[in-house]
Amino acid sequence: MDKEFITRGVKRCSGGKFLLWLTPWVLLLAFGLFSAALVLIKGLNQTNMDNRFAFGLWIFLDLTVIALGAGAFFTGFLLYILKIDDLKAVINSAVVIGLVCYSGAVCVLAVDVGQPLRAWFTFWYPNVHSMLTEVTFCISCYLTVLAIEYLPIVLKNRRLREVPSMLVFEHELHKLIYVLAGVGTFLSFFHQGSLGGLYGVLRGRPFAFREGLALWPSTFFLFIISAAAVGPSFILLTTWLVEKISRKKLVKPEVPGLLARISGLMLAVYVLAKTVDTLVWLNRTSPERGFQGWQYYSWRPFGTWILFAEIVVFGLVPALILLSPKLRANAGWRLSAAAMACCGVALNRFVMTVQTLALPTLSFDPFMSYYPSWQEVGTFLAVVAYGVLVYSFSFRYFQLFPQERDLRVQTPPQREERELITAGRY
């Protein structure tokens, strides 16, 4: 049925199987859209957020997702600017992941605000001092860049190439790609930073407040580095996942190693910077503002363990694993380290968003707790489902892994493997 859409030389499962695979995700998406609609129509009272927990699950996950999506810009940066050509093998996949993460995050943000119809005021009456303005501008611009970067992948599709003008268009785009990569990198660096700045500038919340280097608080730079560190790790994980699910080799064996090395390197830098930052904050920044550092960690359940987990368990450890050639050569070690790195950054975003709001600021405040409502969870699941769907389609109809074809040619599949393929299984 849709054979003529599928890239030459690669095998994809039958349409029926594909639909079967899509069904659960479509259902999930439907449920998510329903809960999002509830919030939009009935208002934010559908969530469990309140005046004290003004931000909740959504902001936390937006920050996480955007950090994971950073693989797109960082790989692009390494490939097009630093000319590490091996990364060509995953750049398309990275771009799709980036697009999914960013567009998803933006959609959730649109649900998260009380009056979406006024969201454009930020562009018309921007407050240049606000980190959120910076974020809004950069994310929307970078989303456009990602869309344009995504186009050539789409245009490479067999059927579309039959339209001559499309071919020309794509050719033109390709000349542009370096510019785009450059712009994208700049924008992305910037807003990853401003996302960190969001909390670093909260002088009213000494737990989040950080002193500045130049214009921005230290969290600005920490977020950039951490994002750059987990981006490759996340690509590593997704690629492996796709290989497992589709039962195909998609990239040459040296590529994951390279990704792991980059990730490990950045992670090491991040852990170092984070440690220094934490020490400065605990011993100077916070006490100067009347808040003794130790007291933050005496509100159960947020003890010092959270600090340890964030920096050592999910920071230092994976960094070391990824840095040692022997360990990262082993897929098991490599993947678990990558996973840990991702968890580490997620934990960091959780601490910055949720713990910041949970901790009391006034002496007569209680410690606050918050559990998301099903509408909040549902809305976010919609983004996950949407991501899987977009990726699945892209994987089926576009060439996300250029090496896939060559790999098939080099290593003719074993018999059972061939049977599987002819049987049209993933």
């Binding site: 009056q115 119809l117 006024r118 454009w120 005021f121 003008s165």
Partner: protein, 567 residues
């Protein structure tokens, strides 16, 4: 023939063109503007801002009020600065009083004809008819007494008179010893108490750190139910540091008035005649002198009343139903004149809707802390709701007497007495009564004025009488969203914060083993009411703090040994 590509071309052109027109931008802007006029949001009425004056009837204090009106509609209330009694202060209940006519739970309909028929039947069968008046001394009260005098076997019943009908002169006190009296939380005239607060030392004996205890100079925590024991210890000089405090007179001792100890303490420390004085009430026309006498409800014979008419339009002391009930004959007819379903309406066969503040025209007698008699009107700021009945008119018609001009007649009588001064709210000036004509007096009363009597030079020495004392309850009741209606905005004070207890909320010590928000039942010999628990470590173990409310008073009034049980 057109191809798909042609379509692309046209659409492209159209898109570019559209962007060069105001249309898309207008729509984006309008979208945002539309959200300014969000559907369903009321627009405040505009018009000329005017000031009107009245007096609050929500409690016996009768504080003076300045209403800010758009046209004729009051939109906010404030105190009248410089007022000799209320000193410009209002309590939260008064501040939002102008919302009461729109209260969703207001009683607006009742079987008036049936009630009238049932009453006539009752009287026809020769039974005793009685009016129970929650706020005696009003002109309406006099109308009831006149009506009852003209009806065979008519009785006029009133709650127990505070301090035996005497008044408190706080300004004279140097030391105030209070046994659980909410002196700083709505007692007497709040503005007057606050005014006098600087001059006296307050010793509060109370189990719970109430608002008053928290603000007292000295708080003596006792175990719940042991306040009276503490009183007799102090009386017998058992606590010498307190005794020393009490030497700094003049002293005023406040507490449950049926305790002999309170009376004795006041005697011992010479309060009588100095901080507790007898008051001369506002004069009435001579033609009213043949009115039925005031009788305390407790003195009525058991099972004697065939028809009981309860006027609770002017909230005052609430007598628990289980006590009042004993006075009724078996086939008694009970009619409640009320604006709420929460009060005696729960027990009456007939509930007749009445006007609420600030609809009703009424007068407010002197509060307990006013040594001088006063006369002031609560003029209606908004017209009474359709279907409401004026109880005084209703009962007057029942007895066939004319009371339409009662208020004006009384104003005339006061004017003739030529005593005291009239304080005008608009310009906070006072004019001697003797300099005013009756019409001018009546006019200024309606525009906002207060007549304050001279202190009686040859006033008799006040008397206090002790009675058979009831035992103290372990439930401490705080005036919250109590009997009667309160503004819906009181949600700010309980639902949206925890400044006050909501109705059917009880505060307990966490040690009690209950958890926050748990549904429990408050139980006494008189029954049980479902309550919600709020944990508060400042409540001592074993004590219960609850918000007053007719049903809670029915449950806990005059009984002891209340307990909280799981449902």
């Amino acid at each position: 023939m057109t191809t798909r590509r042609d379509l692309f071309k046209i659409t492209g052109g159209a898109a570019v063109g559209a962007l060069l027109t105001p249309a898309p931008w207008r729509m984006i802007t309008d979208g945002a503007l539309w959200s300014e006029n969000w559907p369903g949001i009321p627009r405040p009425a505009r018009g000329e801002i005017r000031a009107k004056f009245t007096n609050c009837t929500l409690c016996p204090a009768g504080c003076a009020m300045k209403a800010r009106c758009v046209g004729d509609q009051p939109i906010s209330l404030a105190g009248v600065a410089g007022h000799p009694l209320s000193h410009g202060a209002l309590c939260p209940f008064g501040i939002a009083g102008h919302h009461l006519p729109y209260h969703p739970e207001r009683l607006l309909s009742g079987a008036v004809e049936d009630a009238a028929a049932a009453i006539k039947k009752g009287i026809g069968e020769g039974g005793r008819i009685a009016v129970f008046d929650t706020r005696p001394g009003r002109t309406a009260s006099w109308t009831y007494r006149r009506a009852m005098a003209s009806l065979p076997g008519g009785l006029y019943l009133r709650p127990q008179a505070a301090l035996n009908g005497n008044a408190v002169d706080l300004s004279a006190a140097r030391t105030v010893l209070s046994f659980g009296v909410p002196l700083l939380d709505g007692w007497g005239t709040p503005g007057n108490v606050i005014q006098a607060r600087g001059n006296f030392r307050l010793i509060q004996v109370e189990a719970i750190e109430s608002r008053t205890a928290a603000m007292a100079d000295l708080w003596l925590p006792t175990n719940a139910g042991e306040e009276r024991a503490m009183a007799s210890i102090i009386l017998n000089g058992g606590m010498d540091h307190i005794a020393r405090e009490l030497e700094n007179g003049p002293v005023l001792v406040l507490g449950p008035e049926d305790w002999p100890e309170i009376v004795e303490l006041n005697r011992k420390y010479g309060a009588l005649g100095r901080t507790i004085v007898s008051r001369r009430d506002a004069p009435v026309p001579d033609t009213w002198k043949d009115a039925a006498p005031e009788m305390e409800w407790a003195d009525a014979a058991e099972g004697s009343i065939r028809v009981l008419l309860i006027d609770e339009t002017a909230p005052g002391a609430y007598v628990p139903w289980h006590s009042l009930e004993t006075k009724l004959s078996r086939d008694a007819v009970v009619v409640a004149f009320t604006a709420t379903r929460d009060g005696y309406a729960r027990h009456a066969q007939f509930s007749i809707p009445t006007a609420v503040f600030p609809e009703a025209l009424d007068d407010i007698p002197a509060a307990v802390d006013s040594p001088a008699g006063v006369f002031r009107l609560s003029t209606s700021l908004v017209p009474p709701a359709a279907g409401t009945i004026d109880p005084a008119m209703f009962i007057a018609r029942l007895a066939g007497i004319d009371a339409a001009s009662a208020l004006r007649d009384r104003a005339g009588a006061i004017c003739r007495s030529a005593r005291g001064n009239v304080f005008h709210y608009a310009d906070s000036k006072s004019t001697p009564m003797k300099e005013m004509k009756a019409d001018a007096f009546w006019k200024s009363l309606n525009e906002g004025a207060c007549w304050i009597d001279d202190l009686d030079p040859k006033a008799p020495a006040p008397k206090l009488v002790a009675r058979a004392a009831t035992r103290a309850s372990n439930v401490s009741l705080v005036e919250t969203c109590g009997a009667g209606l309160v503004s819906p905005l009181f949600s700010k004070l309980h639902e949206e914060s925890h400044v006050r207890l909501a109705r059917h909320e009880i505060a307990l010590n966490p040690a009690g083993g209950f958890h926050d928000g748990e549904r429990v039942a408050l139980q006494t010999d008189c029954g049980r009411i479902a309550m919600t628990v709020l944990l508060d470590p400042s409540i001592p173990p074993g004590s219960i703090q609850a918000a007053t409310g007719a049903d809670v008073l029915d449950l806990c009034g005059g009984v002891t040994g209340a307990k909280v049980v799981r449902i």
